[in-house]
Amino acid sequence: MSTKIKINSQIFQDSNNIYYPKDESEVSDLIRELYKQDSPTEIIGNNSKSFIGNKTQSANTTSLSKISGIIDYRPEELYIKVKACTPINEIEQVLSENNQELAFEPIDFGYVKEGKSNKGTIAGYLSCNYAGSRRFKVGSVRDHVLGFKGVNGKGDIIKSGGTVVKNVTGYDLSKLIAGSFGTLVALTEITLKVLPKKDSSKTVIIYPSNFEQIYDFFNKLSSSSSEISGAVFIPEQSKDKDFVTKKNSVFKFNDLKSNISFIAFRVEGDKISIEEKINNLKKELKLSNSDISTLDVYQSEPFWKKVNNLEVFEKTEHNLIRMVIAPANGSKLCKHLENNHNYFVDWCGSLFWIEVNSKKEEKIKDLKKMAKDFGGYLTVIKTSSEYDYGEAIFTVDKVRLMISEKIKQSFDPKRILNPGKMYRGV
């Protein structure tokens, strides 16, 4: 029996030649066999975010979607251990029943991809490491991973971390796996730190008059003892009528003037301390004579969902860019983007979501240079159908690429797992 047939007889394969291993040992068997055959495979979960990253050149596709289910949830220990491809929705639901949540606020990329919710699996989300609006306060996805199990490119089952928060036993491989786009291990099990949900939230809207003022506000907000858990800037962008219409419809709230530029910041906690913090912040931002509006909890929660779901870029056919910079350079970037690209700013001035017209690929090169100059990086999250990949969709320098190649080699010497998904040669 040839090895190819051997794999087929052991592990279910559908008509599209996608393998569906049903447990960790089948993942291990499959990858061990592919390793012997030098035959790379694309690794997918529920396919909700497979559009992010380069297209892999591999003869096989392995879906981990059957590796799903909650293994152990201990609300009192603040952790949940799940099989890797457990849907995020399922995790959020069980946490919600215990008034807990994934504090990093997962982004729902389903809206960008197909105009409707599809949060996908936790393994897929961890592999991207794209935290939502609360990131600047609570850390990224990688900061909430306590441990994992998975299969490396040789078929070996490996683990790192555990279920306890204080743990310095060996290298912290959980960090390395976060954002590795499935190029190091096929994940089979993930343990996440969970946190209590805040009692309530309110969102304050202010209407700044210029870019310097926006960043003055952002700076004051992030310098305050009255902690906020979200701060976005949504620009007016009057030139692009379609975008304006979209933006006004997405952010249509009774207490919000969405037709002009605005900053929204969120305060969470118990009701008394929310009021106290808002009052403190109003003083610190000198807002006593300004036009402001406040979204109560019933408006605040859907508002931040819409921000996190990137609903203003729903089903975009253009290139969608995620740029992270040192916030002090934000006003310069805003000036450059004004009337050139549709965009909004999250993470209290650090994270930019930018839409670049499909015919303007050279603009991405300029933006990448700008990202580096401003102490950051960009990723082309979604490419238009016309994108020719002349400009790499990730940002990496020579030394980091060299080290990344070495790390890849140590996990996956024959480049079996998602080859080329991030960089050529990795």
């Binding site: 009192e76 490491n129 935290a131 060996g170 960090k175 301390s273 106290e276 002090a328 940002t395």
Partner: protein
């Protein structure tokens, strides 16, 4: 205890000492190279002072280029290198090797940039942890991770060990509080991971380096995140009549949704020892003492304190005292911070263990340790980072009595086994170093360890950087893993130890 396997000594390197010293003296200022016996003595050990070794030479470079040149030279000549920060580590991570250069980062002692707009500080690695907070506190900012040795330990060492502290429950450990590092690889390559922005894309190499105990590279610059000092900080001192009731209260505080800034537990033995030592005013009739610190805005803190009070009363607390001033809050902590020296005053020797367990197993672990203490007829005092399940039992004994030493070792190993059995790990914050090296196989199987060794090999092919640390040489699950302090002669007796 003082015998430990180290990598095979390369005698050809020992024979070339004078040539190596001469070459090093060309790569940095001549006075930065130490090679005489009396010059080397201060570097023979770190804070795990039971192990000593004289290094081949000590080199104290002054800038990144010098570090790069030194490592490049050592790489080409197959000379081992042991990096060292402030030497306050408790697991022997900076223990020298006879045939290795000890690379001290002590001259990297400057803060390079304070950037309030980007909420970060760019610093050289030799700056102390507390030095960073001191540099920004006049503007109301601080650096969150606070290992108990923060007065002396360096930020570079914190990166190497992924140091935590009392406040890591709410604010995370070093890995959650740094934005970027500059590092030199063993072959001399200078690299930069991260910067002033969040979450560098691609492999999180900064996350890998943090906690790698000096095995993957030498950190020469660190960018740390700074936070605004909370408006109000208050602490509560709560006594309980039994271990179970106190442990359950601590567990319930967390499960109720409160995230205290810090939460510590001390048992009766330690309440008495520390109160005798520091006159902290602890409730001496209590079997267990809980210190809970809460921070935030005034109404937020008041609200949380109310909730903590309700939980503690429900669990039959015997006393409850709230701090009403900053002075009083610090006095609550004074006893806890004196835990180690207080034990040193009670017995000729003590062993400090460092394991983590799930929070809910707190009472179970303490009761198990109490039983073991009776079984071995050795007193033990317990302090605990209750919020994150990090346990530090201190076993008291007389090292001159061979039988007591043997019993202590057995006792200690049973405690560590208990930690692992309860779902915990062998080191919460002190690191593996040489101390817990042989215990790695309690937690990891061959595949796990091989994967970690492959990473090491990929970045340091010749295994020259800090060899013999973290990963088992003997491949036996030897029962080591203790800090041994004789006649209270801790390497840094004046540093508080949590």
């Amino acid at each position: 205890m003082s015998e430990i396997a180290l990598p095979k000594i390369d005698s050809s390197i020992l024979n070339r000492k004078s040539e190596i010293v001469k070459k090093l003296s060309k790569l940095t200022n001549i006075e930065n190279v130490l090679s005489e016996a009396d010059e080397l003595r201060p570097y023979e050990t770190d804070a795990l002072s039971v192990y000593t070794q004289t290094p081949l030479a000590v080199v104290l470079p002054e800038n990144t280029d010098e570090v790069s040149e030194i490592l490049k030279y050592c790489h080409s000549e197959n000379i081992k290198v042991v990096p060292r920060g402030a030497g306050t580590g408790l697991s022997g991570g900076a223990l020298p090797l006879q045939d290795a250069i000890l690379l001290g980062l002590g001259k990297f002692n400057k803060i390079l940039e304070i950037d309030y707009e980007n909420k970060c500080v760019v610093t050289q690695p030799g700056v102390t942890n507390l030095g960073i907070t001191h540099a920004v506190q006049h503007k109301g900012f601080y650096y969150a991770p606070d290992p108990s040795s923060q007065l002396a330990c360096s930020i570079g060492g914190n990166v190497a060990e992924n140091s935590g502290g009392v406040h890591s429950l709410k604010y995370g450990t070093t890995t959650n509080n740094i934005l970027g590092v500059q590092m030199v690889m063993m072959d001399g390559t200078i690299c930069r991971f991260g910067g002033k922005s969040f979450d560098q894309e691609g492999y999180d190499l900064m996350g890998l380096i943090c906690g790698s105990e000096g095995l993957l590279g030498v950190v020469t610059e660190v960018t740390v995140k700074i936070l605004k000092t909370p408006e109000v900080v208050r602490a509560a001192l709560i006594g309980f009549p039994s271990i179970k009731e106190g442990g359950d209260a601590a567990s319930e505080i967390i499960s109720s949704g409160i995230v205290p800034a810090g939460m510590e537990i001390m048992d009766k033995a330690l309440i008495e020892a520390t109160d005798n030592f520091s006159k902290a005013g602890y409730p001496r009739d209590a079997e267990l003492l809980l210190i809970v610190e809460l921070d935030g805005t005034e109404s937020e803190v008041n609200e949380l304190i109310k909730k903590v009070e309700v939980i503690c009363k429900k669990n039959n607390c015997s006393s409850l005292k709230l701090s009403n001033s900053e002075k009083e809050r610090l006095s609550f902590w004074a006893g806890r911070k004196a835990a180690f020296p207080a034990c040193g005053a009670m017995a000729p020797d003590y062993y400090c263990m460092d394991g983590s367990i799930p929070r809910g197993k707190l009472a179970e672990a303490l009761l198990e340790i109490k039983k073991l203490s009776e079984k071995y007829e050795l007193p033990v005092a317990n302090c605990f980072h209750a919020g994150d399940g990090n346990l530090h039992p201190l076993i008291m004994f007389d090292g001159n009595d061979k039988e007591q030493l043997r019993k202590t070792e057995e006792f200690g190993s049973e405690i560590l086994k208990t930690c692992v059995r309860l779902g915990g790990v062998i080191t919460g914050e002190h690191g593996v170093g040489i101390e817990k090296r042989e215990l790695m196989c309690e937690m990891f199987n061959d595949n796990d360890i091989q994967q970690q060794l492959s990473i090491k090999k990929s970045l340091d092919e010749k295994n020259l950087l800090n060899p013999g640390k973290v990963y088992p040489i003997l491949r036996k699950c030897a029962e080591e893993g203790r800090v041994h302090v004789h006649k209270n002669k801790d390497k840094f007796p004046d540093l508080p130890r949590f």
